[in-house]
Homo-oligomer: 245 residues x 2
């Protein structure tokens, strides 16, 4: 059985539309490659009660939860405190984080605001990264990462090393030159013959007309290949051009 995961994106800037979230997509692709099944994503604002409620729902249900956002030095960064509250544990300066940040900034510049970045819930283990001196942390099955994409990615790389690997999904995409409505019945028949492979259909429209990207996903590469061949045969029978992409 593959492990399961959820992502919790924390930030008013996503909900206001000011910022286009790209962290979800990055983490999703990393998890796919590792063979960990991402089951759910939630986005909540910078509100402690909302973070606590969402985190507790997700960490109870999935093997791993990845959060991004809210671990900087400013007053609106409330993630570490919210995580401590969700777990019902205390929070204080983590000696190693404190030392790392002090070394980075020097004693004079290591002010109260920057010291906030050394605050880690009791029992938390640091997630270091190559980009920023401010670490993320892991507490239980929850990984707490920065919201800035370059820092989040560096943290995710660090985390990925220690995650259990499952069977990665094999995904093959066939681009079909036919409207979805023409191929839907044939596609459903293929799906019924290969129940362990998930077939998704994503329509598109371009200068040449309507088409659909047909995506076959499964853990058994051989079964996925058989499914794709059945899709290709079905398309050929309907006179629809197709290419693997």
């Amino acid at each position: 059985m593959n492990s399961t995961a959820a992502i919790l994106i924390i930030g008013d800037e996503i909900l206001s539309g000011r910022t286009q979230d790209t962290n979800t997509n990055y983490i999703a692709r990393q998890l796919s490659a590792l063979g960990i099944d991402l089951k759910e994503v939630r986005v909540v604002g910078d509100v402690e009660a909302e973070i606590v409620a969402a985190l507790n729902a997700l960490r109870a249900r999935y093997d791993f939860v990845f959060t991004t956002g809210g671990i900087g030095p400013t007053h609106d960064d409330i993630t570490a405190d919210s995580i401590a509250k969700a777990f019902g544990v205390g929070i204080g300066y983590h000696p190693e984080a404190y030392a790392m940040l002090e070394a980075r900034y020097g004693k004079e510049k290591f002010n109260e605001a920057r010291k906030r970045m050394a605050r880690v819930p009791d029992g938390g283990a640091l997630v270091k990264n190559a980009v920023s001196a401010a670490p993320g942390f892991r507490l239980g099955n929850v990984f707490v990462m920065a919201g800035v994409p370059s820092v989040m990615r560096a943290m995710m790389e660090e985390i990925a090393v220690a995650l259990p690997r499952g069977t990665p999904v094999t995904s093959v995409t066939v681009s079909a030159r036919a409207p979805e409505g023409d191929i839907a019945a044939g596609l459903e028949a293929v799906q019924k013959n290969f129940p362990s492979v998930a077939i998704g259909s994503y329509p598109f429209h371009d200068a040449q007309g309507f088409g659909a990207q047909l995506v076959a996903r499964g853990r058994d590469a051989n079964e996925v290949e058989q499914t794709v061949r059945a899709i290709e045969a079905m398309l050929a029978q309907l006179g629809a051009a197709s290419t693997r992409v």
Copy 2:
């Protein structure tokens, strides 16, 4: 009081990382402009029980829920049925949707798969759009839209006309040429003086060094302006250059 809203994104392709979701950001910006407060976003896969559970949680809690994805003609499009199940109502062909789609495709091409797109939960009202003959629908406080961005946007434009307007948030961004850690204490002091304005700080790093986008958001434009002036004065005192962006 402004209305509240949530978004439910339905689709395996988002969770697998195959597709970067952009619908959330578009809807978020539309809602901001209307003065409707987006409070939460969830992404779930093409799994009926997950869609039902998420939808029922969100529609009970917020004034409006906007869903995208899963209303096409193929077997993996299960949103309409899932919505009917969540509301505990039946589902069948909506006469007007059926007529629209039949007119679009012609009798021969209007096959069983395409007829699926005319299926609407009992009591649902159509959401037409300028791009596709296949409509979305509204049931209670839930708006069900396509996942294809161009179609979703056309549906959202149609929906926006009928949504209640609140007080749009005034948002002013000041770009500060200083590391977050240097300005955090001053920023927190400003925040304490203007509690009804939310100040967010979003760090960046470019060729000129570290900086932060400081965003002041509130319903009272005058208070936002006062807040921004206080931020600018604080930055000037610290010798940090700033520009409104």
